[in-house]
């Protein structure tokens, strides 16, 4: 469902930036469209004439009392452009008896009586509103050259103009992408664009503030691990829109926590309670007469018992509390070695304990560390033959290494030995959980494991803390 909007950038800020940009372009097009449609319509010469008329009227009516009329007209860039392109160009303007002319004398001034009733019926009666007062204008033909005459009057303010001699269209009047046209569009759109930039800026600030509170939330969430007793995200300081999401996540996590707790309890109890029926089963088996089947059944029970033991160890790892005690690896490992010696001697395997340091303190759980060391030693014993020697070393780091003289581990599977239910060779006795438990314990202590084959045969497995 969310995939549909993939064409948008993934970040909110990116979406805001992209949409703002698209909107800005649309606004510019909207503002520029009238220009374009006007300029691309009709005869270029007609448009140039209109352009000249607008320019002249604009210069004539400009409300700048300091400059005189002639100066305003001669300073108009538009008029100058027209004059440059048309050698026969002339104009004459009379505003309230202030007169200005260019390119020659007026030919039509006085020829028309603007006070004549036939003209005033078109709306030339005195008006005080010069913006909406009526215009009188006329196009004549002056020996094939068009002349334009116009008159406007509003109250005391009256303006007369005439111009002629335009035979060549100019760029400003005909080309949309002319520099001055673009300048006009730009000036017109500046306010709109400024508003848009402001709104986008507000958007970015809101996004920044929201993501900052979200980032705090992420930090809290990151600090959670499986051991945290309560997985509750704080809702303080979050935008109101986000709070329902966080509350829903909290409800979800509470449900998961409850389920986990239930599962852990179930596993621990179930595994623990299975010991008694297993013992009963084992005892009952003794009632059967000796046979191959009976021996097979004994082995089956041994396997189930071993699996049960390892499952209990795994459960013990996930149940553990925070580490506050310092465990001396030398003492812990020595106790494990002493415990495992009878098993090794039974198999004809010798164990050596080589502590190369006085003490090797590790912040952790003694019981779990001993389970890990014990599993390493049992694993090494299972790979050893009668007469082999197994060495348990404790070195600087602290690091504990169990070295056996067994067949070693094939290089292509050496990286998988710590994965659960991986057995090498696959038909070996056991459940493939022993080393997975070691890894889990070491991970819990933020340590690392490494496996290397010895040049002279055998395997070294190291736990680095």
């Amino acid at each position: 469902m969310l995939r549909k909007v993939r064409m948008l950038p993934q970040s909110i800020a990116g979406q805001l930036a992209l949409l703002s940009l698209i909107f800005a372009v649309l606004a510019l097009v909207y503002l520029a469209f009238p220009f374009w449609s006007y300029l691309s319509d009709g005869d270029p010469l007609d448009r140039t004439i209109s352009f000249a008329e607008i320019s002249i009227v604009r210069a004539a009516l400009a409300d700048s009392p300091e400059s005189d009329l002639a100066r305003r007209l001669s300073e108009s860039v538009e008029i100058a452009e027209i004059a440059a392109a048309n050698s026969g160009f002339r104009y004459f303007v009379d505003r309230n008896d202030e007169q200005a002319q260019f390119g020659g004398d007026p030919r039509w001034q006085g020829a028309i009586d603007f006070s004549h009733p036939s003209l005033s019926s078109e709306g030339l009666q005195d008006s005080t509103d010069c913006q909406s007062s009526a215009w009188w204008r006329a196009n004549y033909d002056e020996d094939g050259v068009p002349v334009v005459i116009g008159y406007q009057s509003c109250g005391v303010d009256s303006t007369y103009y005439e111009f002629a001699g335009i035979t060549t269209p100019i760029d400003s009047a005909t080309r949309f992408l002319d520099r001055r046209n673009l300048e006009i569009i730009w000036n017109e759109s500046q306010e709109t664009l400024a508003g848009m930039v402001g709104i986008a800026l507000i958007g970015f600030i809101v996004i920044w503030a929201t993501t900052r509170s979200l980032r705090r939330l992420i930090d809290v969430a990151e600090s959670f691990d499986e051991e945290s007793s309560e997985h509750i995200l704080p809702t303080d300081g979050l935008p109101r829109e986000i709070i329902p999401l966080v509350r829903a996540m909290n409800r979800m996590m509470r449900r998961i926590d409850a389920a986990n707790k239930k599962q852990a309890f179930f596993l621990a109890t179930a595994a623990h309670e299975m010991r008694t029926p297993m013992a009963i089963l084992r005892n009952r088996l003794e009632r059967l007469p000796e046979s191959q089947d009976k021996e097979d059944l004994r082995n089956d029970i041994r396997r189930i018992t071993g699996l049960l033991e390892q499952l209990l160890q795994l459960i013990g790892i996930s149940e553990t509390e925070r580490f506050e005690d310092t465990v001396d690896l030398v003492t812990a490992a020595k106790a494990v070695v002493m415990d495992r010696v009878p098993l090794a001697v039974e198999k004809g395997v010798e164990i050596e304990f080589v502590p190369n340091v006085e003490t090797a303190p590790v912040l952790g759980n003694q019981r779990l560390l001993q389970v890990a060391i014990s599993n390493l030693i049992d694993n090494a014993i299972s790979f050893s033959d009668s007469g082999d020697t197994l060495t348990v070393r404790v070195d600087e780091g602290p690091r504990i290494t169990v070295i056996d003289e067994g067949p070693g581990i094939a290089e292509d599977v050496i990286d998988t030995v710590f994965e659960p239910f991986v057995k090498n060779p696959p038909n070996r006795h056991g459940h493939g959980l022993g080393l997975a438990i070691v890894k889990a314990v070491v991970n819990l202590h933020k340590g690392g494991v490494s496996v290397t084959n010895n040049v002279r045969g055998g395997t070294n497995i190291s736990l680095q803390f």
């Binding site: 010991r275 013992a279 003794e286 009632r287 020595k334 002493m338 010696v341 050596e352 304990f353 019981r367």
Partner: protein, 224 residues
């Protein structure tokens, strides 16, 4: 041999009793701590097989109770908790051995026999392992009935090893036993005694062997 089985699970108690009786062991069953307390006061048992989890309390309480009431017996604790810490704790509480459920039947019988061979605190203090017989009171060692003469230090080493037979005796505790804490000990002195002792045991038909666990200590065990 008569033993008391303290186990609240009836099925487990019945099947265990069946196995033990088949192996010529007389078994009484107590289903609770209360019944077990009454039983050890009324009868003499060579060994008590003790479950740690009982309906009316912690099984090891019985060990404490036996000591208080001067009852001489040996305790083999059978627990559902198998980690090293619990085992050590069980032994520290005065158990003679510790076995984890579910156990191998052969192992149960072997442990019972091993525990039973242990002398009681005040009884005739005789240890037996392989063909070696050691009377702690007279400090007399015999192999196949022949009395052997060792140096005093070697005798102390053997005494320490045979009383902890089947388990590792740490080098430090061996040294403490042989020399006392304030005596000055030459380096490798213990090793030298052990080495001579091992030679003697090997040449005689002792049926036992001293295993060296480098960096830890020694273990005396029946040789196969």
């Amino acid at each position: 041999m008569k033993i008391l089985l303290v186990e609240d699970d009836k099925e487990l108690a019945d099947t265990t009793r069946w196995i033990l009786e088949k192996n010529k062991i007389v078994v009484d069953v107590a289903e609770s701590l209360l019944l077990a307390k009454a039983a050890i006061l009324d009868h003499e048992y060579s060994v008590v097989l003790l479950d740690r989890r009982l309906p009316d309390g912690e099984g090891t309480e019985l060990i404490h109770y036996a000591k208080q009431h001067g009852v001489e017996t040996r305790f083999l604790v059978i627990s559902a908790v198998g980690d090293l810490g619990s085992r050590v704790e069980g032994l520290d509480l005065g158990a003679d051995d510790y076995l984890v459920k579910p156990y191998e039947v052969d192992e149960l019988l072997a442990r019972i026999r091993a525990v039973e061979r242990r002398p009681l605190q005040e009884g005739d203090r005789v240890y037996e392992l392989g063909n070696v017989r050691f009377n702690r009171d007279t400090r007399n060692f015999r192999i196949c009935g022949e009395t052997l003469v060792f140096s005093r230090r070697e005798m102390l080493v053997l005494e320490s090893l045979i009383s902890g037979a089947g388990r590792v005796v740490a080098r430090e505790s061996l040294q403490a036993h042989v020399y006392g804490y304030d005596e000055e000990v030459k380096p490798n002195a213990v090793e030298a005694h052990v080495s001579r002792l091992r030679k003697t045991l090997a040449t005689q038909n002792s049926g036992v062997k001293i295993h060296t666990i480098r960096g830890v200590g020694y273990m005396l065990k029946e040789s196969n």
